[in-house]
Symmetry: C2
Subunit: 505 residues, 2 copies
Amino acid sequence: MSRQRRPRIAPTLPLLDIPFRAIRNPRPPYDWLAPDALERIHLASLDILENTGINFLDDEALDIWERAGAKTDRAARRVWPDRGLVLEAIASAPSTFRWRARNPAHDVIIGGDSIAFGPCGGMVYVTDLDRGRRIGTMADYEKLLKLSQSCHALHFAAWEQVTAQDVPVNVRHLHRVRAGLTLTDKVVMEGAHGRIITSDTLAMMRLVYDSLDGDPVTGDVINVNSPLVFDDRMLGGLITYARAGQVTFITPFILAGAMSPVTMAAALAQQNAEVLAGVALTQLVRPGAPVIYGGFTTNIDLRNGSPAFGTPEAAWAALVGGQLARSYNLPYRGSGGLTTSKAGDAQAAYESQWSLWPAVLAHTNLIMHAAGWLEGGLTVSLEKFVIDLENLAMFRHFLDGFAVDDDSLALATIQQVGSGGHHLGTAHTQERFRTAFFPTSLSDRLSYDTWALAGGEDTATRANRVWKEMLAQYERPPLEPAVIEALNEYVARREIELTGASLYE
Amino acid sequence: MSRQRRPRIAPTLPLLDIPFRAIRNPRPPYDWLAPDALERIHLASLDILENTGINFLDDEALDIWERAGAKTDRAARRVWPDRGLVLEAIASAPSTFRWRARNPAHDVIIGGDSIAFGPCGGMVYVTDLDRGRRIGTMADYEKLLKLSQSCHALHFAAWEQVTAQDVPVNVRHLHRVRAGLTLTDKVVMEGAHGRIITSDTLAMMRLVYDSLDGDPVTGDVINVNSPLVFDDRMLGGLITYARAGQVTFITPFILAGAMSPVTMAAALAQQNAEVLAGVALTQLVRPGAPVIYGGFTTNIDLRNGSPAFGTPEAAWAALVGGQLARSYNLPYRGSGGLTTSKAGDAQAAYESQWSLWPAVLAHTNLIMHAAGWLEGGLTVSLEKFVIDLENLAMFRHFLDGFAVDDDSLALATIQQVGSGGHHLGTAHTQERFRTAFFPTSLSDRLSYDTWALAGGEDTATRANRVWKEMLAQYERPPLEPAVIEALNEYVARREIELTGASLYE
């Protein structure tokens, strides 16, 4: 690492002072369903696979199912995998794996009691209080990469927090991956879309990592087109990443009442069928490929058909998804900050909490969309990003728990202060003064008069200052100049090769 | 009931369409501490009572302790109750009781798996988007009573949501109780402050209830002046209510770092000592008197000494408080919507969720301050009131859970729709259309353009319309004219008697 680090600016924001480390949930998972109800959902999902079947809109995927002995209708592109085949296949998936970052200090463990938070992904628009809502650009994406790199409440950095629509679509992935690899040293996700994007991603990863053998270095979500369709783009991505030993998270996007029956039992049975089929396919491609059980089930608003997020129904789905994933010894992926609000307001905050609390309680190992998500996933808000980071940091502190021992019970100090009086000046307090409690970067605890005299700012307005301060303190992580040069050469060559080409045949 | 009910206006707001009923948490409590750590806190609290002691600034309370055989220092007004005495005394407290409303349909069960939500209490200011923040008046209090009566997400109505400062202080309680009894038919709380307010309250209750024997009809919080002081006003209230078989909730107000050591183990041990002493006193006054274990422990902000609410520390305290209460077979009181925010913004929402989720997870039987709380308890916000009600209604729906059976698994419908397509028009969906999901009164799920064209309102602005619509639909619950007349006569007589009098000797 030849690049010299600039001297570290003393952080004034607690969000910038969080050490990178794994966090784990010390309490048992919050199992919502009784075992017999869970078993009924499991059995119903196997019934769906065997009797309704599921479409795979990709010839290679159909070949793989046929070779595995599944009942297949090539013309209809449909497979009816039986329970023996599915359950045997998924058994080879690892229950826990290490996800390698280019900086090994930023590796992430996925599975068990571990929880890893990632930023939002796939947004079309970006918004902030200065410039309002607009189409995302590469400059916006770079800004979001820097924020994600800077705050270790997030374990992941590059996740297409916003689409860079000023870069041509058929070479956009090259710029996205390069930005992720150069502006951050955390794990870089890249869309599992077809065979070209994923192959380019693997090639670029090889320029940065010594080898792609062993623990995975990249991956992304495989969305199911519910009900019961894996499309060609997702299957190209699934097969390419699984074959290379990279990560996929099989995630049906189910709005109950639209993509599934309106009842949550059916929505979850269908989710489970779709996930099991996708996980099984990864293992038929390459036994042992790292794969994550994904849940993204919520409901529509039955008055207007709109998606609804942060609902009680989605909370049930998040909790039960975790139970199902654990029953198959699979890691579990959920979401942390979902909302349909268009502003960084109370609705955005309470709906996000209704996503985050169930996700944490469910022992969700990979919590995507945990920062910045707004407007049903269309927009990333820089202010919402900060509001979410604050809450992720709070969860991290919460999950660390507190000591109960002679020192922390402080009976001598309690006796010394006695009745009345206060503990502000005791030696016991003074010794623990700086680190005793969670330090906020955002919440305002001043008196009304002080707050009002200073302008009566709401949370989003304060968050606007925080992301600017975070950007000001951003430090580019070191990367060998030769590696940067190799990445640049790769991007330049492929830009020429991909001119006028389609990413999907 | 002679007063004729007006024809019911068809509710357009789901918040006005909630039936009054008990809610219960179907899952086990979320126990944060392992049994051995909980036992250490229990033992430390007994050590505090025996070795540090606790002050009771009331002669009658000291008499009661002396008669019970506790070591007492009259001059210092201090008691050192030993563990045998305390644990024997608290054993007579009921683990569950019914709290009678003047309308029996609005009775509340306190204990077991039941959860009851109450509005904020004791606020000095009121704020709304139209008029801003100002000193509370009787008109404001009446408005808040009407909102609390109208929405059955709240189980309680009258709780001095704001102080009526346009009514003289020494007769204010008379007006407050009368307003609660006439504008609502839910349980009426009235401050356990000294012997005069509580005696007047009991007298007024006797005008409305056939008898005060048996299940209680009123009560309120007994705050401990932490560390380790019960003051004269609280003790007058405790003794008067307990003797009359009415409810007290013994609630230390502990800001760790100020009123207790900075470590949460010590804060909880001190909380537990204070609660046990108060509960024991109620049982020495009248064995079997209904009493609730109260927790209100949080931390200060160590940068400026301000109280902090909705923190990870407070979440631990809420969870462990429930464990402690259950270990003594006592009902448990917590808080639902705490925040230091001055506006109905993101901070107000996320801090409130950080209060409400732990409170629900802890099986808190009585969740106070669950609607309207703002600014560290100084202000009630009408918009925050609505934001909180929406979330209480969400929890109610969440706790109801969902069915897993043949009907809800809907395998035939899943097979009928098959791959692709959608479920919007199936018979299974159409039959369940209206009641399938939680109906929001507040969240905006429209597209960005639709929302922006309609003014781009934030949550608080929408909440402003909701409380006005709730007030417009308020119906005064029937009450015998003779009872109203008796209440008016009582208030008029006592206003004369209390002229120039002090409420506390």
